[in-house]
Protein backbone atom coordinates (compact mmCIF):
# COMPACT_ATOMS: atom_id res chain seq x y z
CA UNK A 1 0.00 0.00 0.00
CA UNK A 2 1.19 3.44 -0.88
CA UNK A 3 -0.97 6.21 0.62
CA UNK A 4 -0.27 8.73 -2.12
CA UNK A 5 -1.17 6.35 -4.92
CA UNK A 6 -4.27 5.32 -2.98
CA UNK A 7 -5.32 8.95 -2.50
CA UNK A 8 -4.81 9.82 -6.16
CA UNK A 9 -6.64 6.68 -7.31
CA UNK A 10 -9.54 7.44 -5.05
CA UNK A 11 -9.70 10.98 -6.32
CA UNK A 12 -9.62 9.79 -9.92
CA UNK A 13 -12.41 7.35 -9.18
CA UNK A 14 -14.75 9.50 -7.14
CA UNK A 15 -13.76 13.07 -7.91
CA UNK A 16 -15.68 15.49 -10.13
CA UNK A 17 -19.19 14.05 -9.82
CA UNK A 18 -18.04 10.57 -10.85
CA UNK A 19 -18.76 9.40 -7.30
CA UNK A 20 -22.34 10.57 -7.75
CA UNK A 21 -22.71 8.36 -10.83
CA UNK A 22 -21.46 5.37 -8.87
CA UNK A 23 -23.94 6.23 -6.14
CA UNK A 24 -26.72 5.33 -8.57
CA UNK A 25 -26.09 1.62 -7.93
CA UNK A 26 -26.77 1.56 -4.17
CA UNK A 27 -29.54 4.12 -4.54
CA UNK A 28 -31.30 1.94 -7.10
CA UNK A 29 -31.02 -1.17 -4.95
CA UNK A 30 -32.38 0.63 -1.91
CA UNK A 31 -35.16 2.24 -3.91
CA UNK A 32 -36.33 -1.05 -5.40
CA UNK A 33 -36.18 -2.71 -1.98
CA UNK A 34 -38.11 0.12 -0.37
CA UNK A 35 -40.86 -0.15 -2.99
CA UNK A 36 -40.92 -3.94 -2.82
CA UNK A 37 -41.01 -4.09 0.98
CA UNK A 38 -44.41 -2.42 0.77
CA UNK A 39 -45.80 -5.15 -1.50
CA UNK A 40 -47.71 -8.12 -0.18
CA UNK A 41 -45.88 -10.73 -2.26
CA UNK A 42 -43.89 -13.57 -0.71
CA UNK A 43 -40.95 -11.94 1.07
CA UNK A 44 -38.55 -14.81 0.43
CA UNK A 45 -39.11 -14.75 -3.31
CA UNK A 46 -38.81 -10.96 -3.35
CA UNK A 47 -35.50 -11.03 -1.53
CA UNK A 48 -34.08 -13.71 -3.81
CA UNK A 49 -35.15 -11.71 -6.88
CA UNK A 50 -33.89 -8.35 -5.66
CA UNK A 51 -30.71 -9.29 -3.80
CA UNK A 52 -29.84 -12.31 -5.94
CA UNK A 53 -30.87 -11.35 -9.46
CA UNK A 54 -30.63 -7.58 -9.40
CA UNK A 55 -27.97 -7.04 -6.74
CA UNK A 56 -25.57 -9.94 -6.97
CA UNK A 57 -26.40 -10.81 -10.57
CA UNK A 58 -26.32 -7.40 -12.25
CA UNK A 59 -25.33 -4.48 -10.06
CA UNK A 60 -22.26 -6.02 -8.38
CA UNK A 61 -20.60 -7.13 -11.66
CA UNK A 62 -21.26 -3.75 -13.25
CA UNK A 63 -19.98 -1.91 -10.20
CA UNK A 64 -16.92 -4.17 -10.06
CA UNK A 65 -16.36 -3.51 -13.75
CA UNK A 66 -16.63 0.27 -13.54
CA UNK A 67 -14.48 0.46 -10.41
CA UNK A 68 -11.98 -2.27 -11.34
CA UNK A 69 -11.23 -0.80 -14.76
CA UNK A 70 -11.67 2.76 -13.47
CA UNK A 71 -8.72 2.54 -11.09
CA UNK A 72 -6.19 1.76 -13.80
CA UNK A 73 -7.60 1.46 -17.34
CA UNK A 74 -8.53 5.15 -17.59
CA UNK A 75 -4.98 6.12 -16.63
CA UNK A 76 -3.49 3.74 -19.18
CA UNK A 77 -5.96 5.02 -21.75
CA UNK A 78 -5.05 8.69 -21.40
CA UNK A 79 -1.35 7.92 -20.96
CA UNK A 80 -1.00 9.52 -17.53
CA UNK A 81 0.09 6.17 -16.10
CA UNK A 82 3.67 6.93 -17.23
CA UNK A 83 4.03 9.57 -14.51
CA UNK A 84 3.14 6.94 -11.95
CA UNK A 85 5.35 4.28 -13.50
CA UNK A 86 8.29 6.69 -13.55
CA UNK A 87 8.26 6.90 -9.75
CA UNK A 88 10.60 4.60 -7.78
CA UNK A 89 7.81 2.27 -6.73
CA UNK A 90 7.65 -1.46 -7.39
CA UNK A 91 4.94 -2.18 -9.95
CA UNK A 92 3.33 -4.82 -7.78
CA UNK A 93 2.82 -2.24 -5.08
CA UNK A 94 0.99 0.01 -7.53
CA UNK A 95 -1.27 -2.92 -8.42
CA UNK A 96 -1.95 -3.94 -4.82
CA UNK A 97 -2.67 -0.34 -3.82
CA UNK A 98 -5.06 0.16 -6.70
CA UNK A 99 -6.69 -3.20 -6.02
CA UNK A 100 -7.18 -2.29 -2.36
CA UNK A 101 -8.86 0.96 -3.37
CA UNK A 102 -11.04 -0.86 -5.93
CA UNK A 103 -12.14 -3.48 -3.43
CA UNK A 104 -12.81 -0.87 -0.78
CA UNK A 105 -14.95 1.24 -3.11
CA UNK A 106 -16.82 -1.80 -4.47
CA UNK A 107 -17.59 -2.95 -0.95
CA UNK A 108 -18.66 0.50 0.16
CA UNK A 109 -21.07 0.85 -2.75
CA UNK A 110 -22.41 -2.71 -2.80
CA UNK A 111 -22.09 -4.43 0.57
CA UNK A 112 -23.62 -1.66 2.65
CA UNK A 113 -26.72 -1.25 0.45
CA UNK A 114 -27.12 -5.04 0.18
CA UNK A 115 -27.10 -5.29 3.97
CA UNK A 116 -29.57 -2.43 4.33
CA UNK A 117 -31.99 -3.60 1.66
CA UNK A 118 -31.79 -7.15 2.99
CA UNK A 119 -32.78 -5.96 6.43
CA UNK A 120 -35.52 -3.85 4.90
CA UNK A 121 -36.94 -6.76 2.89
CA UNK A 122 -36.48 -9.78 5.09
CA UNK A 123 -35.27 -8.75 8.53
CA UNK A 124 -32.72 -10.98 10.23
CA UNK A 125 -34.49 -14.34 9.71
CA UNK A 126 -32.75 -17.47 8.35
CA UNK A 127 -29.39 -15.76 7.90
CA UNK A 128 -30.66 -14.59 4.51
CA UNK A 129 -29.15 -11.12 4.80
CA UNK A 130 -25.88 -12.50 6.11
CA UNK A 131 -25.74 -14.94 3.20
CA UNK A 132 -26.19 -12.32 0.48
CA UNK A 133 -23.87 -9.88 2.21
CA UNK A 134 -21.09 -12.46 2.34
CA UNK A 135 -21.72 -13.40 -1.29
CA UNK A 136 -21.49 -9.74 -2.38
CA UNK A 137 -18.37 -9.28 -0.26
CA UNK A 138 -16.58 -12.24 -1.82
CA UNK A 139 -17.79 -11.69 -5.37
CA UNK A 140 -17.05 -7.94 -5.20
CA UNK A 141 -13.41 -8.58 -4.29
CA UNK A 142 -12.95 -11.22 -7.00
CA UNK A 143 -14.61 -9.06 -9.66
CA UNK A 144 -12.39 -6.10 -8.74
CA UNK A 145 -9.21 -8.18 -9.11
CA UNK A 146 -10.39 -9.75 -12.37
CA UNK A 147 -11.43 -6.50 -14.01
CA UNK A 148 -8.30 -4.72 -12.84
CA UNK A 149 -6.30 -7.38 -14.65
CA UNK A 150 -8.42 -6.87 -17.77
CA UNK A 151 -7.76 -3.14 -17.54
CA UNK A 152 -3.99 -3.76 -17.65
CA UNK A 153 -4.11 -6.44 -20.33
CA UNK A 154 -6.43 -5.01 -22.96
CA UNK A 155 -7.62 -1.66 -24.19
CA UNK A 156 -11.07 -3.14 -24.53
CA UNK A 157 -11.30 -4.03 -20.86
CA UNK A 158 -14.83 -2.74 -20.42
CA UNK A 159 -16.21 -4.69 -23.37
CA UNK A 160 -14.39 -7.88 -22.40
CA UNK A 161 -15.55 -7.52 -18.81
CA UNK A 162 -19.12 -6.93 -19.91
CA UNK A 163 -18.99 -9.95 -22.16
CA UNK A 164 -17.88 -12.04 -19.21
CA UNK A 165 -20.19 -10.59 -16.57
CA UNK A 166 -23.38 -10.30 -18.55
CA UNK A 167 -23.15 -12.76 -21.39
CA UNK A 168 -21.15 -15.60 -19.84
CA UNK A 169 -22.52 -15.44 -16.33
CA UNK A 170 -26.12 -14.49 -17.05
CA UNK A 171 -26.96 -15.68 -20.54
CA UNK A 172 -24.74 -18.72 -21.05
CA UNK A 173 -24.99 -19.61 -17.35
CA UNK A 174 -28.76 -19.77 -17.65
CA UNK A 175 -28.65 -22.40 -20.39
CA UNK A 176 -25.41 -24.27 -19.88
CA UNK A 177 -25.03 -25.88 -16.49
CA UNK A 178 -21.25 -26.19 -16.74
CA UNK A 179 -20.75 -22.47 -17.37
CA UNK A 180 -21.84 -21.82 -13.80
CA UNK A 181 -18.73 -23.56 -12.48
CA UNK A 182 -16.68 -20.75 -13.95
CA UNK A 183 -18.74 -17.95 -12.51
CA UNK A 184 -17.53 -15.54 -9.84
CA UNK A 185 -21.12 -15.05 -8.77
CA UNK A 186 -21.57 -18.77 -8.05
CA UNK A 187 -18.31 -18.93 -6.10
CA UNK A 188 -19.51 -16.05 -3.94
CA UNK A 189 -22.77 -17.89 -3.41
CA UNK A 190 -20.92 -21.07 -2.42
CA UNK A 191 -18.95 -19.24 0.25
CA UNK A 192 -22.12 -17.57 1.48
CA UNK A 193 -23.88 -20.94 1.59
CA UNK A 194 -21.12 -22.32 3.80
CA UNK A 195 -21.45 -19.33 6.13
CA UNK A 196 -25.19 -18.85 6.28
CA UNK A 197 -26.67 -22.25 5.43
CA UNK A 198 -28.44 -23.41 2.28
CA UNK A 199 -31.87 -22.18 3.32
CA UNK A 200 -30.52 -18.67 2.93
CA UNK A 201 -28.77 -18.90 -0.39
CA UNK A 202 -28.20 -21.64 -2.93
CA UNK A 203 -25.12 -22.25 -5.03
CA UNK A 204 -24.37 -24.52 -7.98
CA UNK A 205 -20.71 -24.90 -7.06
CA UNK A 206 -19.47 -26.79 -4.03
CA UNK A 207 -17.62 -24.91 -1.29
CA UNK A 208 -14.56 -27.09 -1.79
CA UNK A 209 -14.32 -26.04 -5.43
CA UNK A 210 -15.27 -22.42 -4.95
CA UNK A 211 -12.60 -21.40 -2.43
CA UNK A 212 -9.58 -22.60 -4.42
CA UNK A 213 -11.04 -21.13 -7.61
CA UNK A 214 -11.66 -17.79 -5.89
CA UNK A 215 -8.14 -17.70 -4.47
CA UNK A 216 -6.60 -18.71 -7.78
CA UNK A 217 -8.52 -16.06 -9.69
CA UNK A 218 -7.99 -13.24 -7.20
CA UNK A 219 -4.32 -13.88 -6.43
CA UNK A 220 -3.53 -14.99 -9.97
CA UNK A 221 -5.15 -11.88 -11.46
CA UNK A 222 -3.17 -9.65 -9.10
CA UNK A 223 0.14 -11.35 -9.86
CA UNK A 224 -0.52 -11.36 -13.59
CA UNK A 225 -1.52 -7.71 -13.51
CA UNK A 226 1.76 -6.85 -11.73
CA UNK A 227 3.76 -8.76 -14.32
CA UNK A 228 1.87 -7.14 -17.18
CA UNK A 229 2.27 -3.68 -15.68
CA UNK A 230 6.02 -4.29 -15.32
CA UNK A 231 6.29 -4.68 -19.08
CA UNK A 232 3.57 -2.30 -20.15
CA UNK A 233 3.81 -0.80 -23.61
CA UNK A 234 1.67 2.19 -24.32
CA UNK A 235 0.06 1.57 -27.67
CA UNK A 236 -1.75 4.12 -29.75
CA UNK A 237 -5.43 3.75 -30.40
CA UNK A 238 -6.12 1.60 -33.39
Amino acid sequence: MNPTVARLTLRGLLGRRRGLLLLVVPALLLLVSAIASGSSADAHGLTVKILGQLGLGTLVPILGLVVGTGVIATEIDDGSIVYLLAKPLPRWRIITTKLAVAIGVTWLFSVVPTLLSGLLLYGTRDGMVLGYTVAVLVAGAAYSALFLLLGVVTRHAVVAGLAYALIWESMVGNFVEGARTLSVQQWGRAVAEAVAGDTAIGADVSFGAAVPLLLVVTVGATVLASVKLAGLTLAGEE
Binding site: L21, V24, V25, L28, V32, A36, S39, S40, A41, G45, L46, K49, I50, Q53, L54, G57, T58, L59, I62, L65, V66, T69, A73, T74, D77, D78, H156, A157, V158, V159, L162, A163, L166, I167, S170, M171, E237, E238
Partner: protein, 309 residues
Protein backbone atom coordinates in the same frame (compact mmCIF):
# COMPACT_ATOMS: atom_id res chain seq x y z
CA UNK B 1 1.80 29.24 -64.76
CA UNK B 2 4.85 28.81 -62.65
CA UNK B 3 7.02 31.84 -62.84
CA UNK B 4 10.64 32.17 -61.96
CA UNK B 5 11.19 33.81 -58.61
CA UNK B 6 11.22 37.50 -58.92
CA UNK B 7 13.88 39.08 -56.81
CA UNK B 8 12.64 42.58 -56.55
CA UNK B 9 15.92 44.02 -55.56
CA UNK B 10 15.39 46.96 -57.80
CA UNK B 11 12.49 48.52 -55.94
CA UNK B 12 13.44 47.58 -52.39
CA UNK B 13 15.23 50.27 -50.58
CA UNK B 14 17.61 47.73 -49.23
CA UNK B 15 20.78 49.14 -50.53
CA UNK B 16 21.58 50.63 -47.16
CA UNK B 17 19.91 48.13 -44.78
CA UNK B 18 21.37 44.96 -46.30
CA UNK B 19 19.50 42.37 -44.19
CA UNK B 20 16.10 43.04 -45.79
CA UNK B 21 17.55 41.77 -49.02
CA UNK B 22 16.96 38.17 -47.94
CA UNK B 23 13.20 38.66 -47.52
CA UNK B 24 11.86 37.42 -50.82
CA UNK B 25 8.41 36.19 -51.77
CA UNK B 26 8.50 33.44 -54.33
CA UNK B 27 5.52 32.69 -56.46
CA UNK B 28 5.71 28.93 -56.74
CA UNK B 29 2.49 28.64 -58.62
CA UNK B 30 -0.26 27.71 -56.18
CA UNK B 31 -3.61 27.90 -57.83
CA UNK B 32 -7.15 27.78 -56.55
CA UNK B 33 -9.43 24.94 -57.55
CA UNK B 34 -12.06 26.05 -60.00
CA UNK B 35 -13.50 22.72 -61.10
CA UNK B 36 -16.83 21.27 -60.00
CA UNK B 37 -17.29 20.72 -56.25
CA UNK B 38 -19.11 17.71 -54.83
CA UNK B 39 -20.73 19.77 -52.11
CA UNK B 40 -22.35 19.28 -48.76
CA UNK B 41 -24.52 16.32 -49.65
CA UNK B 42 -21.56 14.34 -50.93
CA UNK B 43 -19.52 15.13 -47.83
CA UNK B 44 -22.37 14.05 -45.57
CA UNK B 45 -22.85 10.83 -47.50
CA UNK B 46 -19.12 10.12 -47.28
CA UNK B 47 -19.16 10.70 -43.54
CA UNK B 48 -22.12 8.33 -43.31
CA UNK B 49 -20.41 5.52 -45.24
CA UNK B 50 -17.14 5.98 -43.41
CA UNK B 51 -18.91 5.86 -40.04
CA UNK B 52 -20.95 2.82 -41.03
CA UNK B 53 -17.77 1.03 -42.08
CA UNK B 54 -16.02 2.14 -38.91
CA UNK B 55 -18.83 0.62 -36.83
CA UNK B 56 -17.85 -2.78 -38.24
CA UNK B 57 -14.14 -2.01 -38.18
CA UNK B 58 -13.90 -2.08 -41.99
CA UNK B 59 -11.00 -0.05 -43.27
CA UNK B 60 -9.44 -0.07 -39.81
CA UNK B 61 -6.93 -2.33 -38.12
CA UNK B 62 -7.57 -6.04 -37.71
CA UNK B 63 -7.95 -5.64 -33.97
CA UNK B 64 -10.91 -3.31 -34.28
CA UNK B 65 -12.71 -5.79 -36.52
CA UNK B 66 -12.64 -8.51 -33.86
CA UNK B 67 -15.48 -7.36 -31.69
CA UNK B 68 -18.02 -6.32 -34.37
CA UNK B 69 -17.46 -9.50 -36.36
CA UNK B 70 -17.64 -11.62 -33.23
CA UNK B 71 -20.96 -10.03 -32.30
CA UNK B 72 -22.26 -10.53 -35.82
CA UNK B 73 -21.33 -14.22 -35.60
CA UNK B 74 -22.80 -14.66 -32.11
CA UNK B 75 -26.08 -13.16 -33.33
CA UNK B 76 -26.29 -15.00 -36.65
CA UNK B 77 -24.89 -18.47 -35.94
CA UNK B 78 -27.61 -19.52 -33.45
CA UNK B 79 -30.21 -18.53 -36.05
CA UNK B 80 -28.54 -20.80 -38.57
CA UNK B 81 -28.47 -23.62 -36.02
CA UNK B 82 -32.15 -23.13 -35.22
CA UNK B 83 -32.97 -23.32 -38.93
CA UNK B 84 -30.78 -26.38 -39.45
CA UNK B 85 -32.38 -28.20 -36.54
CA UNK B 86 -35.89 -27.29 -37.66
CA UNK B 87 -35.24 -28.53 -41.19
CA UNK B 88 -33.63 -31.83 -40.15
CA UNK B 89 -36.47 -32.48 -37.70
CA UNK B 90 -38.91 -31.74 -40.56
CA UNK B 91 -40.79 -29.21 -38.45
CA UNK B 92 -43.51 -27.27 -40.25
CA UNK B 93 -42.73 -24.14 -38.27
CA UNK B 94 -39.66 -22.45 -36.81
CA UNK B 95 -39.30 -23.05 -33.07
CA UNK B 96 -38.61 -19.34 -32.48
CA UNK B 97 -40.53 -16.18 -33.26
CA UNK B 98 -38.65 -13.61 -35.39
CA UNK B 99 -39.12 -10.73 -32.96
CA UNK B 100 -38.63 -13.07 -30.02
CA UNK B 101 -35.25 -14.11 -31.41
CA UNK B 102 -34.15 -10.49 -31.41
CA UNK B 103 -35.30 -10.10 -27.82
CA UNK B 104 -33.27 -13.12 -26.74
CA UNK B 105 -30.02 -11.84 -28.28
CA UNK B 106 -30.72 -8.37 -26.99
CA UNK B 107 -27.79 -8.34 -24.62
CA UNK B 108 -25.28 -9.11 -27.36
CA UNK B 109 -26.73 -6.37 -29.54
CA UNK B 110 -26.47 -3.99 -26.59
CA UNK B 111 -22.78 -4.89 -26.24
CA UNK B 112 -22.25 -4.01 -29.91
CA UNK B 113 -24.07 -0.71 -29.43
CA UNK B 114 -22.15 0.15 -26.26
CA UNK B 115 -18.77 -0.59 -27.78
CA UNK B 116 -19.33 1.01 -31.20
CA UNK B 117 -21.29 4.17 -30.40
CA UNK B 118 -18.25 5.68 -28.62
CA UNK B 119 -16.08 4.61 -31.57
CA UNK B 120 -18.19 6.85 -33.80
CA UNK B 121 -18.51 9.84 -31.48
CA UNK B 122 -16.12 9.89 -28.51
CA UNK B 123 -12.93 9.65 -30.54
CA UNK B 124 -13.73 12.66 -32.68
CA UNK B 125 -14.27 14.61 -29.48
CA UNK B 126 -11.16 13.33 -27.77
CA UNK B 127 -8.76 14.07 -30.62
CA UNK B 128 -10.59 17.27 -31.41
CA UNK B 129 -11.28 16.36 -35.00
CA UNK B 130 -14.84 17.68 -34.81
CA UNK B 131 -13.79 21.29 -35.56
CA UNK B 132 -11.92 19.98 -38.61
CA UNK B 133 -15.15 18.50 -39.97
CA UNK B 134 -16.88 21.81 -39.47
CA UNK B 135 -14.17 23.65 -41.39
CA UNK B 136 -15.49 21.79 -44.45
CA UNK B 137 -18.84 22.49 -46.10
CA UNK B 138 -20.77 20.13 -43.82
CA UNK B 139 -22.73 21.73 -41.02
CA UNK B 140 -23.28 20.57 -37.46
CA UNK B 141 -26.68 19.19 -38.41
CA UNK B 142 -25.11 17.19 -41.24
CA UNK B 143 -22.54 15.71 -38.87
CA UNK B 144 -25.17 14.63 -36.35
CA UNK B 145 -27.41 13.31 -39.11
CA UNK B 146 -24.65 11.26 -40.72
CA UNK B 147 -23.41 9.76 -37.44
CA UNK B 148 -26.94 9.04 -36.22
CA UNK B 149 -27.92 7.36 -39.47
CA UNK B 150 -24.69 5.36 -39.56
CA UNK B 151 -25.18 3.93 -36.08
CA UNK B 152 -28.84 3.15 -36.71
CA UNK B 153 -27.95 1.40 -39.97
CA UNK B 154 -25.16 -0.57 -38.32
CA UNK B 155 -27.58 -1.81 -35.68
CA UNK B 156 -30.24 -2.55 -38.26
CA UNK B 157 -27.85 -4.61 -40.38
CA UNK B 158 -26.77 -6.53 -37.31
CA UNK B 159 -30.36 -7.50 -36.58
CA UNK B 160 -31.49 -7.99 -40.16
CA UNK B 161 -28.81 -10.65 -40.71
CA UNK B 162 -30.21 -13.31 -38.32
CA UNK B 163 -33.79 -12.49 -39.34
CA UNK B 164 -32.88 -13.06 -42.96
CA UNK B 165 -31.19 -16.35 -42.08
CA UNK B 166 -34.32 -17.49 -40.24
CA UNK B 167 -36.64 -16.36 -43.04
CA UNK B 168 -34.67 -17.87 -45.90
CA UNK B 169 -34.20 -21.05 -43.91
CA UNK B 170 -37.92 -21.27 -43.25
CA UNK B 171 -38.72 -20.80 -46.93
CA UNK B 172 -36.10 -23.30 -48.07
CA UNK B 173 -37.44 -25.75 -45.52
CA UNK B 174 -40.83 -25.50 -47.19
CA UNK B 175 -42.60 -23.85 -44.28
CA UNK B 176 -45.75 -21.79 -44.67
CA UNK B 177 -44.96 -18.81 -46.91
CA UNK B 178 -47.56 -16.27 -45.81
CA UNK B 179 -47.14 -16.94 -42.10
CA UNK B 180 -43.37 -16.62 -42.29
CA UNK B 181 -43.46 -13.53 -44.49
CA UNK B 182 -45.87 -11.80 -42.13
CA UNK B 183 -43.87 -12.63 -39.05
CA UNK B 184 -40.61 -11.79 -40.79
CA UNK B 185 -42.04 -8.33 -41.43
CA UNK B 186 -43.03 -8.05 -37.74
CA UNK B 187 -39.45 -8.96 -36.94
CA UNK B 188 -38.16 -6.25 -39.27
CA UNK B 189 -40.38 -3.65 -37.60
CA UNK B 190 -39.01 -4.78 -34.26
CA UNK B 191 -35.47 -4.52 -35.65
CA UNK B 192 -36.09 -0.96 -36.84
CA UNK B 193 -37.42 0.00 -33.41
CA UNK B 194 -34.51 -1.71 -31.62
CA UNK B 195 -32.17 0.11 -33.97
CA UNK B 196 -33.78 3.47 -33.26
CA UNK B 197 -34.71 3.69 -29.59
CA UNK B 198 -31.74 2.25 -27.64
CA UNK B 199 -29.30 3.61 -30.22
CA UNK B 200 -30.42 7.20 -29.89
CA UNK B 201 -30.02 7.09 -26.11
CA UNK B 202 -26.59 5.47 -26.46
CA UNK B 203 -25.43 8.15 -28.90
CA UNK B 204 -26.33 10.92 -26.44
CA UNK B 205 -24.27 9.20 -23.75
CA UNK B 206 -21.37 8.64 -26.15
CA UNK B 207 -21.41 12.28 -27.25
CA UNK B 208 -21.25 13.40 -23.62
CA UNK B 209 -17.82 11.91 -22.92
CA UNK B 210 -14.54 12.03 -24.82
CA UNK B 211 -13.39 8.87 -23.00
CA UNK B 212 -14.20 5.72 -24.89
CA UNK B 213 -13.98 3.35 -21.94
CA UNK B 214 -16.24 5.49 -19.83
CA UNK B 215 -18.75 5.79 -22.65
CA UNK B 216 -18.89 2.02 -23.08
CA UNK B 217 -19.43 1.45 -19.37
CA UNK B 218 -22.04 4.18 -19.11
CA UNK B 219 -24.10 2.95 -22.07
CA UNK B 220 -23.97 -0.69 -21.05
CA UNK B 221 -24.56 0.19 -17.42
CA UNK B 222 -27.68 2.14 -18.30
CA UNK B 223 -29.09 -0.47 -20.69
CA UNK B 224 -28.31 -3.48 -18.45
CA UNK B 225 -29.34 -1.95 -15.14
CA UNK B 226 -32.60 -0.51 -16.44
CA UNK B 227 -33.48 -3.82 -18.10
CA UNK B 228 -32.64 -5.74 -14.91
CA UNK B 229 -34.74 -3.41 -12.78
CA UNK B 230 -37.69 -3.77 -15.16
CA UNK B 231 -37.29 -7.56 -15.26
CA UNK B 232 -37.14 -7.80 -11.48
CA UNK B 233 -40.14 -5.52 -11.09
CA UNK B 234 -42.19 -7.77 -13.39
CA UNK B 235 -40.80 -10.88 -11.71
CA UNK B 236 -41.70 -9.84 -8.17
CA UNK B 237 -45.22 -8.72 -8.93
CA UNK B 238 -47.91 -11.31 -8.35
CA UNK B 239 -49.16 -12.79 -11.61
CA UNK B 240 -52.90 -13.14 -11.92
CA UNK B 241 -53.73 -9.96 -10.03
CA UNK B 242 -53.80 -6.39 -11.29
CA UNK B 243 -50.26 -6.01 -9.94
CA UNK B 244 -48.94 -7.82 -13.00
CA UNK B 245 -50.35 -5.24 -15.40
CA UNK B 246 -49.08 -2.38 -13.29
CA UNK B 247 -45.58 -3.83 -13.17
CA UNK B 248 -45.39 -3.83 -16.98
CA UNK B 249 -45.22 -0.06 -16.85
CA UNK B 250 -41.71 -0.33 -15.42
CA UNK B 251 -40.55 -1.33 -18.93
CA UNK B 252 -40.72 2.37 -19.71
CA UNK B 253 -37.37 2.98 -18.00
CA UNK B 254 -35.52 0.55 -20.25
CA UNK B 255 -35.27 1.32 -23.99
CA UNK B 256 -34.91 -2.33 -24.98
CA UNK B 257 -37.74 -3.62 -22.79
CA UNK B 258 -39.88 -0.75 -24.02
CA UNK B 259 -39.47 -1.87 -27.63
CA UNK B 260 -40.02 -5.52 -26.73
CA UNK B 261 -43.25 -4.76 -24.86
CA UNK B 262 -44.55 -2.52 -27.61
CA UNK B 263 -43.86 -5.03 -30.38
CA UNK B 264 -45.31 -7.92 -28.39
CA UNK B 265 -48.56 -6.09 -27.75
CA UNK B 266 -49.02 -4.52 -31.17
CA UNK B 267 -48.40 -7.76 -33.10
CA UNK B 268 -49.82 -10.02 -30.38
CA UNK B 269 -46.63 -12.03 -30.04
CA UNK B 270 -45.05 -13.91 -27.19
CA UNK B 271 -46.44 -16.36 -24.68
CA UNK B 272 -45.69 -17.43 -21.14
CA UNK B 273 -45.57 -15.85 -17.74
CA UNK B 274 -42.59 -13.62 -18.37
CA UNK B 275 -44.06 -12.13 -21.53
CA UNK B 276 -43.51 -8.37 -21.64
CA UNK B 277 -46.32 -6.29 -23.04
CA UNK B 278 -47.64 -2.76 -23.14
CA UNK B 279 -50.79 -2.95 -21.01
CA UNK B 280 -53.83 -2.30 -23.21
CA UNK B 281 -54.58 0.43 -25.73
CA UNK B 282 -53.45 3.14 -23.35
CA UNK B 283 -50.25 1.19 -22.87
CA UNK B 284 -49.59 1.02 -26.61
CA UNK B 285 -50.17 4.74 -26.98
CA UNK B 286 -47.96 5.67 -24.04
CA UNK B 287 -45.19 3.24 -24.99
CA UNK B 288 -45.18 4.43 -28.59
CA UNK B 289 -45.11 8.05 -27.45
CA UNK B 290 -42.23 7.41 -25.05
CA UNK B 291 -40.30 5.63 -27.80
CA UNK B 292 -40.88 8.54 -30.15
CA UNK B 293 -39.95 11.04 -27.46
CA UNK B 294 -36.71 9.16 -26.73
CA UNK B 295 -35.65 9.19 -30.39
CA UNK B 296 -36.64 12.78 -31.14
CA UNK B 297 -35.40 14.05 -27.79
CA UNK B 298 -32.04 12.33 -28.17
CA UNK B 299 -31.63 13.71 -31.67
CA UNK B 300 -32.39 17.22 -30.43
CA UNK B 301 -29.96 16.75 -27.54
CA UNK B 302 -27.25 15.69 -29.99
CA UNK B 303 -27.89 18.78 -32.09
CA UNK B 304 -27.57 21.03 -29.04
CA UNK B 305 -24.49 19.11 -27.94
CA UNK B 306 -22.72 19.88 -31.21
CA UNK B 307 -23.81 23.53 -31.31
CA UNK B 308 -20.77 24.41 -29.23
CA UNK B 309 -17.84 22.18 -29.97
Amino acid sequence: MAQPPDTRSADTRSADTGSADTGVIHDIGYRGYSGPRLGRGYATRSLFTQSLRAAYGLGRSGKSKVLPMLVLAVVTVPAAIVVAVAITMKRDQLPVEYAGYLASVNLVIAVFLASQAPVLLSRDLRYQTVPLYFSRPITRTDYVRAKFAAMVCAQLLLMAAPLLVLYLGALLGGMDFSYNTGHFLYGLVAAVLYALVPTSVALVIAAATPRRGFGVAAIMGYLAVSAAVAAVAVGISDPGTTGSDAAQWTSLISPTELVESLVNEVFDLGVGLDRRYAPGGLGIAVFALVALALVVGSYRLLLTRYKKV
